[in-house]
Subunit: 341 residues, 4 copies
């Protein structure tokens, strides 16, 4: 590279002279273009490209307390408007969704609090959010009943986690529920560690109430080819990762196993790369594996997803405008009677 090549794009300074829409501010961040602001602006651009690409399947990987944090309606809306095509998440995320779907709530609290008193009061704390135990107990019994119904209906068939999620979604009536919205929009929800959540303990309750032959069975491996097939059929794939952990790893691994590699990638996390954990690993590193393509549009934003993700969504929704309607490739494929990549 010549010297001049490094000095092509002067930073344009941000100007805030009155009310700005979220996207107007993101456009300014694109012009300043550096540090977190530059990465955030790029993340908006990459997500916009994903959803405008009619041949791209958009994966949303969710970990952490996104539902308690108030992102439930945002995600349900993304599902309904097909700005997300596949969800991969922790069990807890969908447990939190089910809690609210069945009338429970998450409450604004504080992290400077007497946790032993909370324990006595049967109130659970998630940083500065409180959830009363009765909201968990309520879903324990109602979901155990759903497990019974699902097992009866599927007659001994072993379910994958995405089949399980749709069976739950079908039985939840709350229109703001992510599980419900995903069922209605036929957006798959994969929960690779489904056992590691209240869903696992509800299963224990359910199993204790039934004859062994009537117990719902989830097959840990059944989903593997299912998510890979989605990747391999799509001409292009993109991912948005909130946090990290198993959801991020599952999406990225599907991209290897299907011999595709993501074409677009946005990761929002506070985790660090230096310890070698997957959650903080850079997108550059993913290229060595073929998880993300070297030439992919990709960016990692270091920040609190509960600030950053709504900014990205608000910016992209504003850009798309009210007339935008998305029919994802796989849906069109189904409508056309199938086919392969």
């Amino acid at each position: 590279m010549r010297r001049d090549d490094y000095l092509q794009k002067p930073v344009k300074h941000i100007k805030i002279s009155g009310a700005l829409t979220v996207d107007q501010l993101m456009q300014q961040f694109r012009n300043s273009g550096s540090f977190g602001a530059g990465r955030l602006a790029k993340a908006c651009d990459v997500y916009e490209k994903m959803v405008r690409d009619e041949e791209c399947t958009v994966f949303l990987a969710l970990s952490g307390a996104v539902v308690p944090a108030g992102m439930r309606a945002v995600i349900a809306d993304l599902v309904r408007s097909r700005l997300v095509d596949v969800i991969v998440c922790t069990g807890a995320t969908m447990v939190h969704d089910a809690i609210e779907a069945l009338g429970g709530h998450h409450y604004k609290g504080s992290w400077v609090v007497d946790d032993e008193e909370l324990f006595k009061y049967h109130i659970f704390r998630i940083y500065d959010i409180f959830v009363p135990e009765e909201d968990y107990v309520r879903i324990d019994y109602q979901l155990a009943e759903m497990y019974r119904e699902i097992a009866a209906k599927r007659k001994g068939e072993r379910l994958s986690s995405d089949e399980f999620a749709w069976e739950l979604g079908k039985r939840l009536k709350d229109p703001n529920s992510i599980l419900r919205a995903a069922y209605e929009a036929q957006v798959p929800i994969f929960i690779p560690a489904v056992r590691d959540s209240e869903f696992g303990f509800i299963h224990w309750l359910h199993a204790s109430q039934e004859n062994q032959k009537d117990v719902l069975v989830l097959d840990a491996f059944k989903e593997v080819p299912r998510i890979c097939e989605i990747c391999s059929k799509s001409p292009r794939n993109g991912m948005i990762v909130i946090g990290g952990g198993v959801p991020r790893n599952t999406v990225q691994s599907a991209a290897i196993a299907s011999k595709t590699g993501m074409d677009y990638a946005v990761v929002v996390t506070m985790d660090r790369p230096e310890t070698g954990g997957l959650s903080g690993s850079t997108l550059k590193e993913t290229v060595s594996w073929g998880k993300v393509k070297g030439e992919a549009d990709k960016v990692m934003v270091i920040g609190d997803a509960l600030i950053v993700f709504p900014l990205i969504v608000a910016s992209v929704v504003e850009r798309l405008g009210s007339g935008f309607a998305r029919v994802p490739y796989l849906r069109r494929l189904q409508a056309d009677g199938g086919g392969s990549k």
Copy 2:
């Protein structure tokens, strides 16, 4: 509290005047007693208490790249000497163990590297570690064959992840293997997100080679009561968490579901609490849930586990001395012909 109560324990300054053993330095950290050094010294104390408590079951939760990082022999030794009674880990951890057990290696590398070149060379990068693809391919075929054998032997029985881990351990001959050591020592290894790892893709390969009725089935929920029973039978329980994610959550949730709550807890992580994710959540927060008891001996060390955990192990091994032999409660219980808490 009276004013004087706050001013009881002056910091004793660390003195390094010649060669020190690891534990001698940790003793000095206990005397200085503040910031990371104070927490690390306490972590050594808590782990020592756990292993000296003959009625305590010690859970080790592993996430991140502990095996590539060179901790494989340390963990296998902890298993063999029964300083760990139960392991809960990511799939990747045991995949990495199997890679080395079958002759593969992890290589010291660098994070300042051309990842597109690595991709062309079929070399995978984990921060500053490299793994050649052929080491993965080798386990793909050898493990697929083991899957076939296990399925044949178990004749359609659905396995839990810990049964699966022992079946693998039985078939791996490398004495330095964690899977092998755990099988020999009858230390359970739970892998709640087993599907989210090469184990999942090996299953796909295996399933493609067999008739459907001969395919190995892992039951996602089968392990739930198994791990809870261990907690509930032990008079006391302790956990050491490296990283966070599903392994930490699984151990903590077992402590709730079994209505026990950990009596001892050491967490080593770089994750932050503020985003609400489980991995960075404080031990104080776990008290509200009953995951860890309010009165438990507990400490969270903010640091790189690959530095911190060997220090803890070295310090405790030094304190225990060569004559120390541990027979865990559950083993004695079995020897006595069972019984309940």
Copy 3:
């Protein structure tokens, strides 16, 4: 506290159904009210209160690369509209301002780059920003000349860093310069570590060109009573801290020394509390010192200031509307002919 007290405020879920202004999104964050989003919404509220409080002096503490990052015009505008009454910053911040005031630029770059090549090209890197050495050389000579003029004018008087900053501001003509805006608006800029920046090396150059008696002298301690007096005269004080380091410490220490204690505080940082450094210390900790009042409106946002601070400013500017004009207490006091608290 009774159990019900903990469960008063259910999280209201964020809804993004079309274009939102920045403040509309911040209002939604206030309603969801948790994790980073809740803290950010509170930060907007606290800053709004500060500027609407006619008896409050607003301190802005700046560290890190805020000018290279594109925040120069935002800060100059805050100064001009008196939404900031006092700046405390690193030397580098004002060096960066002077670079742009004298025709230099910061350039958008990348952190994945060959730094040895940059060195050969005399291009300096600040994470993903590039600055050519000639822009530094230019200010070296022009500022050395200003030093000469200032020394000649002040005739051996020893200057404090804020006097020095105004002398520079007077000589810089660029209307977008923070130094210029502060001089015009008579907003003090304290630079407690002024020597630790290009200003120090320019001084060396200047001193080499002059007789010793004609050399500009900055008195390290002269500013101490000056900043304390501002605190002590103001009925109330508030601070906004970007980053940490010396600027944060200087503002907080002024609040102790003047026996006031901040009434409002917003800190935006990525630094951690656990290592005991000032930059990551919690606002709760500052209460023990009297740096911030126990009853103060205060919040710490964990995040990249280059994302978070523009959001706060945009939200507050939107709330204030175009008709808002602020005359700070100390200005009114001067207009009234002085007086004390």
Copy 4:
């Protein structure tokens, strides 16, 4: 690079089979060689090289609460044994040293505490350390008296911060004091932001007690050529940075201004690079500036300095053995009657 070049150095697994000295563990970390452990092992090697290099000047940059944390004696010993040749630090570091030198203490406390109660009790908190206000008051009066003496002795001469530090060291009798040890060993201590600490408020007290002509004056810029000259006279320079902030910046800037560039560098910090702040910036980035040479032996350890730095010191002290005596280059130069590089 050829494929094989990437796969040269297999990770050797750590083995802990009995008591290990600190350096024995560090040797194992060198063999595992990855993540934090690899970096820490390299840091030990780099520091060893620095002190064994008879033509290297070793700079130690200190920020954060190293003295309250119990590192005071370690640093004083490094100074006395000339394993450190120059200290650059925050004002607070030397204030904490003076507090202990004059009979005060830092106390082990907790961060889960009622800070408003501490405020009422006049106890200051530094994360999990407490300091009673009376220990500050004591130094206020005793140091103000020293300021008076120094001013009288130096008769209107303006001091640099390193001259000031030696004047204090001369007057402190505590042999464990860093200030005292540095005075005795003639190790310069630069405090670029000396005004931003209790030293500044003591000056205010002192100035209020004296006639203006008898007030001690510190010249902010006087130290600049002094530290640069040390760099430029030394055939080689090395730095160890604890934390970041002004001390790190001052050392690195001296290396530019003296047109040298560090030959060795160890940085221990928890700060992140992404926000563009100096404290978290990578050593790779410093190369573009010429602060550190491209070919330098350099490593950044991400971790709590209060854990990491004692490990480095203990490891290197063990390697050097009891017979090792270091005479730094600049001392030999002085003994030889001066000279230049």
